[in-house]
């Protein structure tokens, strides 16, 4: 059964940025878009398992810090080599100033 997990406060993430969130042995990336929306994906790049949290958010794109592969973090779609495999994405909601993810 999927549950909502309290990941962080909404202002823990700067606009157009992301943070890493670890939960039960898994790692996730939580994003705050330039339009103040929140998204969640797997935390590791599908190319060589590098943490995306050290990467760069540009509009709706996350660039991996190791090889500059890019994903659309809204859909998880791999959009620039060397990444070829999409990221998993997870539902997000904000309630009472907290960011909740469903995993």
């Amino acid at each position: 059964m999927t549950t909502w997990i309290d990941a962080c406060a909404n202002d823990d993430i700067e606009e157009e940025d992301l943070i890493r969130f670890d939960h039960e042995g898994r790692t996730f990336a939580i994003y705050r878009s330039p339009d103040d929306e929140y998204f969640c994906t797997d935390g590791l790049c599908t190319h060589e398992q590098v943490h995306l949290s050290d990467g760069l958010v540009m509009d709706y794109v996350i660039e991996c810090p190791k090889h500059n592969g890019r994903f659309d973090y809204r859909t998880g779609e791999a959009i620039r080599a060397p990444v070829c495999v999409n990221l998993g994405t997870y539902p997000v909601k904000v309630e009472g100033g907290r960011v909740l993810i469903q995993v």
Partner: protein
């Protein structure tokens, strides 16, 4: 003394995997996230400006070269055109391959394709080979881009100052791929889904070279090849001169770019041609930082890095004796000392290597 096998399919490749040297955690200097974001930020303006200068000078110098042909007065203009074609395109290939030069994706892609053609590097194959170079930098059997292997093939390096082996291998590989074939070593780092692109691009390039050769034969002149193809030979010297300094003579099989990469202060013209890749430790440690912010990154982290070589000449004074010594003693390397303000090398991790003294 350890004999090395640099092949990607050989025993050293297996040993690197067993030793945990592949896709490993590398040392990074600590930089607060806020500052790092500023350093990584992308913009189009610096690379647009530099590209206008680059292509403007190329068009003017080739134009004058053609106008003065076949007089020897055309030679300086071909030298200028050649170094921009055969060397500046190396750094454009590199930066746009990373996707950091421009903020706008298609701009990176356009320059990447042009530069790949000039350097005779299949843009698909080399994107993947360079990704491997960043994952496993100077790890024997894993890094496909090691220039000065041990013992160093000095004659081979000398030939490449004139692009001879690189261009020959580039054209040979182009024809091989154009025939619909893929080398087994290429297949170790290129995903299967990308292989048709390798072949398609090789066929397009073969058609362009065929047209240039046909024009040369039809006009009974090598002039068309002075514009397309030959500059990869007569203009290669600068990118080889600067490229050797990136890693030659330094450690292999380590997980700290301060041990296997070299930063060299260079004159402004070389830095324009090389697009600031003289800050090479910085580039490897933080590949997300665009070329035009590398000087800022250098200023921020130099307390944690070995002292840069003060000039190209000074760097060669370090590299040349090291390469000569490696001819007789392959395990030799230069260990660059860290300043007192730096975090020390991880002696436990690199204990075997760091035990080898440098003179």
């Amino acid at each position: 003394m350890t004999k090395r096998d640099y092949s990607l399919l050989g025993p050293d490749a297996e040993r690197a995997v067993e030793a945990g040297l592949t896709a490993a955690e590398w040392y990074h200097t600590d930089i607060p996230r806020k500052e790092m974001k500023e350093l990584m930020k992308r913009e189009d303006q610096p690379a647009i400006r530099d590209s206008f200068v680059l292509f403007g000078v190329m068009i003017v110098s080739a134009g004058i070269g053609i106008a003065l042909w076949p007089s020897w007065w055309s030679a300086p203009f071909w030298l200028a055109y050649g170094v921009l074609y055969g060397s500046a395109m190396d750094s454009r290939w590199h930066e746009c391959g990373h996707g950091t030069a421009f903020r706008t994706g298609w701009m990176n892609d356009v320059i990447y394709q042009i530069a790949s053609f000039c350097m005779i590097r299949n843009p698909v194959e080399w994107r993947w080979s360079h990704a491997r170079h960043h994952t496993d930098t100077v790890v024997v059997g894993r890094d496909p881009e090691i220039v000065a292997m041990r013992p160093p093939a000095l004659f081979r390096i000398f030939l490449n100052f004139f692009g001879i082996l690189d261009a020959y291998n580039g054209w040979k590989r182009m024809l091989f791929n154009a025939a619909g074939k893929i080398d087994p070593e290429e297949a170790t780092f290129i995903p299967e889904s990308e292989l048709p692109k390798v072949i398609r691009i090789a066929r397009i390039w073969t058609a362009i070279y065929a047209a240039a050769i046909f024009t040369a034969v039809a006009t009974q002149s090598i002039l068309p090849l002075m514009v397309i193809g030959l500059p990869r030979l007569y203009g290669a010297w600068h990118h080889v001169m600067t490229g050797i300094l990136q890693h030659a003579g330094l450690a292999e099989n380590v997980l700290d770019h301060r041990l296997n990469s070299r930063t060299v202060y260079m004159n402004p013209i070389s830095r324009f041609i090389y697009w600031n890749m003289n800050f090479h430790v910085e580039h490897h440690m933080f590949a997300m930082v665009p070329y035009h912010r590398l000087p800022k990154l250098h200023a921020k982290i130099k307390h944690d890095l070995p002292e840069p070589s003060p000039s190209i000449l000074a760097a060669y004074r370090e590299v040349w004796p090291a390469l000569k010594r490696q001819l007789r003693y392959e395990d030799y390397f230069v260990r660059r000392e860290l300043p007192g303000t730096a975090r020390p090398y991880r002696e436990g991790l690199h204990v075997d290597l760091l035990g080898v003294p440098a003179e």
